[in-house]
Point group: C2
Chain length 588, copies 2
């Protein structure tokens, strides 16, 4: 692996260098930045189409404005690759050896040109409003520029931000990157308005931004550096809030990403090889969920599959979506709406299934509590990608258990294998009593081979899969397999025949079973694939607090980890059979 060679980018070490380039050089620079993006994404994966589309705008921003005095605040910050390349971090794109040093998101620890660590959407206007207000309080004088778009307009925080930023009586610039896409297609009335604006060259009646009170400029050629420089120069040092609506091409410069914009939004490594597109997927939780939904919809017209702008994560490809037709809604990046919408559907007799990533269900806590749980709406929420990982600190899947399982009325389930998962899913869809969330296992795909005949309407019944003594192991969800291996380790190393329990219910305690352990067990351990604080294990510790049983809780500590290797985390958290057995031995 060799370093990518460049000619113009070669000499760009800070935004000051961008200002010295000619227009012709900037065009070459744009090509080189694109090569850098492709080079990095090919090697380590990442956001492709969004970054390819924003190259010219980023060059123009750095040409016109004066970062870091002028402050650029990126929404989601998945479109910050060109910005990173122009602010001293190009090696993270050009040289494979340096790839790991640079994150895929804005990160103030990397550079003074970044102001926030952000990976969730729809935050930029709000954060920038605070930055601008602080500037005004301090009597300082510079531009605050929020860059939003690529679907992230539709989240509630963005709307709230627009509403409040628009009454700032000072400089405030919003660049709306309109690439006609969210992650999948754009959804909702706002995007119809963007289309009308594009088609009227920004002149149509009922301009959504103007309705909020923003000044407004439209740039049809959002990948033309000259047009962008002119527009940004026009709004630079403006003394009131203004929107610059730029029309760009998502994926520009890489045909595959232009032709299939959804595919090109975010990619695993290997984009430059021939076979880098959605291929056949081996059976997994995603595929059996799709099959389940398709079969269900055939029999029951009230089943609704819902997601919030990330259908690809669940392999809900366009074929699946087309088959579902009116039984499918992508609400866009709007998880609050998704949960409330599911509640409304369920209360009026439909059967909603909302699929969501762990990290993003966080955006809908109040809706889970008030719209859903308080109303006992029998909706089903499938929580994907939960668990300890070496992900970016912005996208950790650690916090869903405390978030969901402490809300009254919600039944939060943790299947350990295919059979349990399907049984739980069908029970949830067909029952009419409870809001149900299911933590889709994120580890290996497990088939037990044993039919699950559990009646899940009897809540909080754990399954004692093997009765032993002295030590009882509660292996929750995808950590049940770890529990099995701990059991084996205890047997082989300490000669202990431990009890193994599959709790199934994250949200409740099986008092009868736990009480029965007191007779012939001294130690109970809990294993959960998430943060310990506020989680499942602590409830077990509380339960046994007044007894002689000792309890050890295993899971993640309360911390935001940023791309820490799993080996390190497993060691730190004692998440191996050997370390757990050693802990138990010390306690015996």
């Amino acid at each position: 692996m060799t370093t990518l060679q460049t000619t113009i980018l070669e000499n760009i070490n800070s935004p000051q260098d961008v200002k010295k380039t000619s227009l012709d050089e900037m065009k070459i620079l744009a090509q080189e930045i694109r090569q850098g993006i492709l080079n990095r994404v090919d090697k380590v994966g990442g956001h492709l189409g969004p970054d390819l589309g924003i190259v010219e705008a980023t060059i123009a921003l750095h040409y016109v404005f004066n970062s870091p005095v002028d402050k650029f605040i990126f929404d989601v910050s998945h479109q910050c690759y060109p910005h990173k390349m122009l602010t001293g971090r190009k090696q993270g794109f050009l040289d494979p050896l340096n790839h790991p040093e640079i994150s895929g998101y804005s990160n103030q620890n990397e550079s003074e040109h970044d102001h926030f660590m952000i990976g969730h959407t729809s935050t930029s206007i709000t954060l920038a409003t605070g930055v601008a207000k602080a500037r005004d309080l301090k009597g300082e004088n510079y531009n605050v520029v929020a860059l939003i778009g690529d679907g992230s307009l539709s989240g509630g925080e963005a709307f709230e931000g627009f509403n409040n930023a628009s009454v700032l009586d000072s400089n405030f610039i919003v660049i709306v990157n309109d690439n006609e896409m969210s992650i999948a297609e754009n959804q909702g009335g706002l995007y119809k308005n963007l289309k009308e604006l594009r088609e009227s060259n920004g002149t149509c009646a009922n301009n959504w931004f103007k309705a909020f009170g923003f000044d407004y400029i439209y740039v049809e050629q959002g990948n033309d550096i000259e047009s962008l420089i002119k527009a940004f120069s026009d709004v630079k040092d403006s003394t009131r809030p203004v929107v610059v609506h730029i029309h760009t091409l998502k994926g520009k410069g890489f045909d595959k990403a232009v032709q299939n914009k959804e595919w090109g939004h975010w990619s695993m490594p290997g984009i430059l090889s021939e076979n880098s597109s959605y291929g056949d997927v081996p059976e997994c939780y995603e595929t059996i969920t799709k099959d389940y939904i398709l079969n269900k919809v055939k029999k029951d017209n009230t089943v609704m599959a819902i997601n919030a702008a990330t259908p690809g994560v669940f392999w809900w490809d366009s074929e699946f979506r087309d088959k579902l037709g009116k039984n499918y809604t992508d609400v866009g990046i709007a998880e609050q709406h998704a949960v409330g919408y599911a509640s409304g559907l369920a209360r009026n007799g439909a059967k909603p299934i909302f699929a969501v990533m762990t990290s993003f269900i966080q955006r809908a806590y109040d809706q889970l509590s008030q719209d859903l749980a308080l109303n006992n709406s029998p909706a089903t929420i499938l929580v994907y990608w939960g668990g300890i990982s070496s992900a970016d600190c912005t996208h950790l899947g650690l916090f869903d258990i405390p978030l969901i399982c402490n809300i009254p009325n919600i039944v939060y389930l943790a299947p350990t294998c295919k059979e349990e998962y399907l049984k739980m899913l069908d029970w949830s869809v067909e029952q009419n009593e409870h809001p149900v969330a299911i933590r889709v296992p994120s580890g290996d795909y497990i088939v037990s081979g044993v039919e699950d005949t559990t009646d899940y309407s009897i809540l909080n019944k754990y399954k004692l899969t093997e009765k032993g003594s002295k030590v009882a192991i509660l292996g929750l969800g995808d950590f049940f397999e770890l529990g099995k291996s701990v059991k084996e380790e205890l047997k082989s190393k300490l000669g202990i025949k431990a009890s193994l329990i599959n709790p199934k219910f994250i949200s409740g305690v099986d008092e009868e079973l736990l009480n029965s352990l007191k007779a012939d067990h001294d130690i109970v351990i809990t294993l959960e694939n998430g943060t310990l604080d506020g989680g499942f294990g602590e409830k077990i510790s509380r339960f046994f607090g007044n007894s002689d049983i000792k309890v050890l809780n295993y899971g993640a500590f309360k911390e935001f980890n940023d791309r820490v290797p799993m080996g390190k985390l497993n060691e730190r958290y004692h998440l191996t059979k050997e370390l757990i057995a050693q802990d138990i031995e010390k306690l015996l």
Copy 2:
């Protein structure tokens, strides 16, 4: 106390009866409904101005539409009093004996005319979108009507709802009740647009609702039944989404509530007596906070006081707001924005203080986690009204501890008295390392008389206030006083001299102090004024899980209680010194 006598309302027992009344009778009916509202609010308190303003619209809705087949979905549902009076629940307003039977919010357990239990804002469009979609899936045919307004347009979920509802290809009616107010004044660009619409009789350029793709009708005389009947008849059975923007007078029919709309938004009992307005307030946490902020702003121009549409809750009256001037922002009902805005301010060197009610901070979980905690932004969040109470199930203050204390990086503090509170507050405002939340005590106002000299930058140091043995009591925040009384009870009844600990830090464990207890204590009890699940006590149980110490956690169970008397709750949760001492005795 006698039942209020009515002539027309007397004969209204269901919406069918409304349809039989003449226009003249409806005008009398409106007066009688107002008397009912005043009668109830005078006796038990509640939402006054919002309900007085929506009387005519509610009569017209029931005259034109056919509830419960047509479905009315109320936002916040604090404007449902007239609706309740027309749907079989008038005695809850007319007869003091029946007041307690009826809640102040929409409640499907009370009536088939209510479809959701809701008390938080900005949910109606979203919930109604789900209801309408379920109708369409089932091939049913009726009107779905969401009633929003009175400030609740500004919450993110409302925006998300507008965005998605606007692309429904079927009947969907939104009544926007524009009374020119939020709880305090309206905030933000959207409200400027409403003003332009009012002033142009609905014809101005850049109509925010039309920009979303809604059809639109404006009704200037929103308290004129005839105009409303005409407008509602025009949109009835419409086959696509439409907004009916009605201009009403908040507080109509009760001068005091019209002249001081903020005062009249929600009121304690006694509105009909002479002295029912903001009076002098004795020193309390609210007043000392105000004094602190005013003094601080004088010395430091970067201090920002922020709230989200509920300044009255903190006694932030107009005099206070005027004094703060540009150092004050009411973001409107937009807690997500408030938290992100505070983070932006803090990151750019200002000193934000966001005051918020426990029940509403729930609306900003992801912002607490991503915008604030992940960025370690040194903002201060004051969480008011936390604790176990006999409040409506929609407004419980139980869940803030699990919500906040399990997020990495946030320091969540629980003062027990005035001195600690002020010390913590000033430390938080002046430090530059951590996001800090302070749980403002909701119990009795306590002055210890002892200056607090703690250095709070040394995190997670609990205070051992009295060293004893056998039993250690951790009394968190406003339950420290309960801890004191338990200590006394243990002394007098069991002869035990217990240790008493003031944890101060909700978000961390003082391992050193807790370890030291192992030497001469057998039992540790935790007392927290909130839900146990995911809370403070469970962390203590987890900590002692591998030791011989027994732990008892006291707090609320995981449940939504609806107006349950405190006596009952204290008994159920064993939150009295006698019950706790008995539990301890059993365990000794």
